[in-house]
């Protein structure tokens, strides 16, 4: 069977995410990065002096840190970054009402189905276009209970003390080269605060879109879930395909307090010329629960390892991830769990699919500090290989300094079995249907955790990607 014929016909590359709007912005910095660019961004945002200082300090740390030599191939990134626009302002302010969003941007998001999603039971919706949140709204019933769901800029403006108390505390500037870069040029992202005991049953959603060519998007999100509160935040990411590479580097900081429960879901479907280098971390206090649900389907290279720092007794962290690497893609993803307190528990489940010359790598850390008595952690990685040229790697780091800890890691690599295919074909399925069914079954344990519309979307994407993969 001709390779990928079906995929081309169905045109994943010009499916509903891949359209391009004409460039339009009211302001952008010149390409490249130096101190004046950082000052300009800060000035445009009318920031307090401490934030400018924070940014400048971050810039010098960014410049002093070498490019990571591990993970994916970053050899072209230095050159790419020279031409990138670090800040592109699409409009003047974040709108609270959908009708106030400029038509062109509105059309974009409507094509992506965003307001539609809002009408369906979401507690709040944010939409970021290029460097700024163009739209942010929260339903009144939640706002009246003290829930804050703002753009990060409005968070800084409207809740300066709360903001400053947590900002940069979960992920310090110097954590890694890209957290330093984000700290220098961050723009957009969400500020979420859920007060004590509030149970936000329905999700908040943020949508990230890059339209401008040679664009760098640096969203920064800060989420605080107070004692006993619960919430769920979903982010989706897309961009059109350009001939040049784009760059996305977010920093997501999360504080889950005592007895609180929080889930962060990402479905990343960036175009295949996007570098996606994201730092996501949660600190979890006593008996709190943090769950990362991470779907990485798009991008050229993703390096992303959602982390849980289990700081309070009985805290629990869970990371579930699916990675799909098609041709030209490298998904270097995984998770980190750090057990600091007693009786903390964690689990990482990672499933990856590599097709054609795609490469998926699991990279993870499980660290148990001395004194974290009774800590338990379990890691399971399963990799599915579709073609001869596909590649998968597993790079776990297990560091145990506590005698009473129980830590296990298992990984398996497999291909779709001929017997499985044979059986399903005998039941009347075409080879492609059989393949898609097997792959769906493979990701099902994680897909079933997604909100319904995302699960449907994920299955559809996987199905499309699997077309033409047999033979």
């Amino acid at each position: 069977m001709p390779k990928s014929k079906q995929v081309e016909n169905l045109g994943l590359d010009d499916d509903k995410y891949r359209f391009v709007d004409a460039e339009s912005h009211i302001y952008r910095t010149r390409p490249g990065l130096d101190e004046s660019v950082v000052r300009e961004i800060s000035q445009h945002k009318e920031e307090p002096a401490w934030m400018l200082e924070f940014r400048l300090k971050a810039l010098s740390i960014y410049e002093s840190k070498p490019m990571p030599a591990w993970g994916g191939d970053l050899s072209d990134l230095e050159t790419t970054l020279k031409d990138i626009y670090f800040y592109v302002k699409p409009q003047d302010q974040t709108e609270r009402s959908w009708s106030d969003v400029p038509d062109k941007i509105k059309t974009t998001f409507e094509r992506l189905g965003i307001p539609e999603a809002e009408q369906k039971a979401l507690a709040g919706v944010g939409a970021q276009y290029e460097s700024e949140m163009v739209y942010h709204s929260l339903k009144e019933e939640w706002a009246s209970q003290g829930v804050i769901f703002d753009s990060i800029e409005d968070g800084l403006k409207n809740h300066p003390e709360l903001f400053r108390e947590y900002f940069g505390t979960v992920i310090p500037i110097a954590d890694n080269k890209f957290s330093a870069l984000n700290s220098a040029v961050w723009s957009g992202g969400s500020f979420v605060y859920v007060p004590k005991g509030v149970n936000l049953e329905i999700p908040l959603q943020a949508y990230f879109r890059v339209n401008q060519e040679k664009m760098g998007q640096f969203e920064r999100t800060l989420i605080i879930i107070e004692e006993g509160a619960t919430a769920h935040y979903i982010e989706g990411c897309t961009a059109p395909v350009y001939s040049t590479d784009s760059f996305h580097s977010g920093v997501i900081e999360i504080v889950v307090k005592k007895d609180a429960r929080f889930r962060y879901t990402t479905i990343q479907n960036w175009s295949n010329n996007m570098y996606n280098l994201v730092t996501q971390r949660a600190v979890v206090q006593a008996n709190g629960t943090m769950e990362w649900l991470d779907g990485n389907l798009g991008s050229k290279l993703t390096m992303k390892y959602p982390s849980c720092y289990l700081m309070g007794q009985g805290a629990h962290g869970s990371i579930m991830s699916i990675a799909y690497a098609g041709t030209g893609q490298h998904q270097d993803t995984g998770g980190k769990v750090v057990h600091v307190a007693k009786n903390t528990t964690s689990s990482i489940i990672s499933k990856s699919i590599s097709k054609e010359d795609g490469r998926s790598s699991y990279r993870g850390l499980c660290k148990v500090h001395e004194g974290a008595t009774g800590a338990r952690s379990n890691v399971e990685c399963d990799a599915l290989l579709i073609n001869e040229t596909s590649r998968t790697d597993t790079y776990p780091y297990i560091e145990v300094d506590e005698k009473t800890a129980t830590v296990g890691h298992e990984a398996t690599v497999s291909k779709v079995g001929d017997e499985q295919l044979f059986y399903l074909k005998n039941r009347g399925l075409s080879e492609e249907e059989a393949m898609a069914l097997i792959v769906r079954g493979f990701i099902e344990p994680i897909a079933k955790e997604l909100p319904l519309e995302y699960a449907v979307e994920l299955n559809r994407l996987i199905e499309l990607e699997m077309e033409g993969s047999v033979g």
Partner: protein
């Protein structure tokens, strides 16, 4: 020039090249991923080591004696501070054309030729690292074991290393070449008294040609204060098998780099490892299973127990190279923590570039199974007896995988040392 002096000038050239590589290679630091968990400067003061070769090493030929056929050993080599002091072989070995000889002073021209054809050329060039260069420049004496086609030697050849002096670096070198359809086993043991600061470096190269089988066992029980640095490389050709067992019980710091290449279809390997740490012992095991051809198999099992404030790192990688279809590769690392201060790191890596493979790895770190301990206590055992029994069972699992008979002596002596270590804990 005589053959002997030609051979020695060949050796000296290699040594001086390796020495220049050594001098130009920086000491590995924890900045390098492969040395991330072993900070040599914190653990030892290597700069005080005397790196000179043992004086007059190339002048003195070892004593050569006949070994009686009644004991279950085919050859016995005694090393003193890296030099061969005696070499005893059974008539079985001699009559069937097997070569077991000194690499510094080989007896025959043919032995020289075999060494020249194989030593360090393909397998571990000095350029592969600081210690590889050091060993290549400074090995005092080494042993060549060569088995001709279709010759099977049932009982193992044993090499026994004993080291005495402090503040010195002693390097040993082993080269094993098994021709088509042959079979051999070699057991090397390392012992020394406790010392203030010493280094023992061992480099082992093993080549198994088509259909050959080599079993290699290393038992390291060096004194405290020693840095044991071991490099082993095994290349397995078509339908051949190389099995290795590394037992590390002694020394203060142990660093093992074991690389096995499954080079041709049908090649297989079993890689076994066992370690027991107490006090401030530090173990760093670094392994690779490289599948370069289709229909190859590898199975690794490393198990250890850590007492006192000892620490162990296992880093192992299975690489299935592109085109190496129908590969079966497994890797398991299990570590028991017996004390509050013990620490274990485990990094089992997979890099898979072929789709039709069976590959998995597993790694666990944890304490003794409390249910079994509880059961044993109820049966009237003391807590010490119970712990001892469970640890011996846990580690004994590795020894049980050795072929029975030929390795009985190794199993007994390792078990005795383990019992000793456990009773001191």
């Amino acid at each position: 020039m005589t053959d002997q002096s030609k051979y020695h000038s060949w050796l000296n050239e290699k040594r001086s090249h390796a020495w220049s590589v050594y001098e130009n290679t920086p000491m590995p630091t924890t900045k390098s991923e492969e040395w991330r968990y072993t900070d040599l400067t914190k653990l030892l003061s290597l700069e005080h080591l005397n790196l000179q070769m043992t004086a007059g090493s190339h002048l003195k030929a070892p004593s050569r004696e006949h070994l009686s056929e009644t004991i279950n050993t085919s050859g016995r080599i005694q090393f003193a501070d890296g030099l061969i002091s005696s070499l005893q072989l059974t008539s079985d070995i001699k009559n069937r054309g097997v070569i077991v000889d000194s690499m510094q002073n080989p007896q025959h021209e043919k032995h020289q030729e075999i060494i020249q054809a194989n030593l360090g050329t393909v397998l571990l060039p000095p350029e592969s690292g600081k210690f590889q260069a050091l060993n290549a420049a400074r090995w005092a004496d080494g042993v060549i074991i060569y088995v001709p086609e279709n010759v099977h030697i049932e009982m193992p050849v044993r090499g026994k290393h004993h080291f005495t002096s402090d503040k010195s670096t002693r390097c040993s070198r082993t080269l094993i070449v098994a021709e088509e359809g042959s079979q051999i086993s070699y057991v090397e043991e390392f012992q020394s008294a406790d010392s203030e600061n010493a280094m023992v470096s061992s480099t082992v190269e093993i080549i198994a040609h088509k259909n050959a089988t080599v079993d290699f066992v290393s038992v390291q029980n060096l004194g405290r204060g020693t840095f044991f640095q071991a490099d082993q490389k095994a290349v397995v050709h078509r339908d051949a098998t190389i099995n290795t067992l590394n037992v590390n019980l002694g020394s203060t710091v142990t660093r093992l780099d074991l690389k096995t290449q499954l080079a041709e279809p049908g090649a297989t390997t079993k890689m076994l490892g066992l370690y027991f740490g107490d006090q401030n012992q530090h173990f760093d095991h670094n392994t690779s299973q490289d599948h370069l051809a289709p229909h190859t198999g590898s199975d690794l099992l490393y198990k250890g127990a850590l007492d006192g404030d000892s620490r162990a790192t296992f880093r192992g990688v299975i690489r299935v190279h592109s085109g190496a279809q129908q590969t079966d590769a497994y890797q398991t690392n299990r570590t028991l923590l017996l004390s509050d201060k013990a620490q274990a790191n485990s990094l089992p890596n997979l890099e898979i570039e072929a789709d039709d493979v069976k590959c998995s790895h597993g790694s666990t770190v944890g304490q003794l199974d409390q249910e079994i301990i509880f059961y044993l206590l109820n049966r009237g055992l003391s807590p010490q007896q119970a712990e001892r029994l469970v640890v011996l069972g846990f580690l004994g699992d590795v020894l049980e995988r050795l072929p029975k008979g030929a390795f009985r002596r190794v199993v007994n002596s390792v078990t005795d040392t383990l019992k000793q270590k456990l009773s001191h804990g």
